[in-house]
Symmetry: C2
Subunit: 219 residues, 2 copies
């Protein structure tokens, strides 16, 4: 989002429209987005904006892609810089918590569009489902790194962990955003610590490497 040096005017316009679209969709839902409203909000003509996307569905898919890209840039990619294993799992958790705490629209939309679209078959829902499957694969790979490092049991199931972590994050967003629960983050960290504890070769033992990220393997 920051490296606009090589972008043309059309790309910047498209990026501005999509950033606004992610923000709006987080507030009123993807279904609440209209090309007319976005045209007004970005100061473009409705026909000019239509020329960028062609249809409301194409706009919704582009907004989802922008949200997923923001989530990747803010949460996933920084986590991949942490040492492989538990440190990387925890970096993913912290980035994701921050994304919710700061109410970054990308993370928010990515989480909330899934309940909005689940009864609405079509290309928008298909794209969202594929994005979620990709996220689950990413979490599973990050967890699997902990098995490779010997920090987690070889028979621990990375896909069960990915599902469990996504549940922890869904209830965190719920508790933080709808209930304004001040303990939401603490509960998420407690839940993830319990998931990791249960996956260690010797249950209950915390790996010392976890306390000192420098002790881990940097890939």
């Amino acid at each position: 989002m920051t490296s606009t040096g090589t972008m043309g005017k059309g790309d910047r316009t498209r990026e501005a429209i999509l950033a606004r679209g992610v923000d709006e969709a987080c507030r009123v839902g993807l279904g609440g987005l209209t090309i007319g409203d976005l045209a007004t909000a970005t100061g473009l003509s409705k026909s000019g904006l239509f020329a960028h996307f062609g249809s409301k569905e194409a706009l919704q898919v582009a907004v989802l892609d922008a949200a997923a890209q923001e989530f990747g840039a803010v949460v996933v990619i920084p986590a991949l810089r942490a040492p492989r294993g538990e440190a990387r799992v925890l970096a993913l958790l912290e980035g994701w918590l921050a994304c919710g705490r700061l109410r970054l629209p990308g993370g928010c939309l990515f989480v909330k569009a899934s309940t909005e679209l689940d009864e609405q078959p079509g290309p928008v829902r298909d794209r969202l489902a594929e994005q979620h499957r990709e996220l689950v694969r990413t979490i599973a790979r990050i967890f699997d790194g902990g098995i490779t490092e010997g920090q987690l049991r070889a028979d621990a199931d990375p896909y069960q962990f990915a599902t469990d972590l996504y549940g922890v994050m869904l209830v965190y967003y719920h508790a933080h955003r709808l209930l304004a629960d001040p303990r939401a983050e603490e509960r998420a960290r407690t839940a993830v610590a319990a998931l990791l504890d249960a996956a260690r070769p010797d249950p209950g033992r915390r790996d010392p490497a976890r306390l000192d990220p420098r002790a881990g393997d940097h890939r």
Copy 2:
């Protein structure tokens, strides 16, 4: 919903409107509900329907109450008939899973309205938040019964469990509804079994009473 013997015509009309409203809101969101659409769907005049509720917000609150009542009748009350302790926790889980599997609109709306409304302050969101707090208290009480029975550790945190279980259910709805994941239920049961395992006095030991509900205390 079945005992209409003592209900007047006005009550039955209201009930029919709300059942349709829960169903519609589950599909298009609470924000997508309009008094006009519901009037058309139920064959009533718009002014007649307006007379029942007075405003769109009052209609939305009434629809949420109807969804919470359905969820209570289908999931919570049957679970309370199971023996106190783990059996009751598992009965709650099974009822909730069935509610999602059968796509009963009450359970669905109750889960999905939370992401829809979290950026929309007002009386509708306030009601939904209070309903969720009440659900968390109910889950915590059910878990606490397992502590009273000596099946779960005295220092286990019923509110952490309630939060964790809600996360398991959110990701189950997500996996079942958006991703059509055939392993969604299995993953939810695995997650809850792990939560209970971690809360037992002797981790990993399953209480024999859990396998035979008749062995438990019936309140």
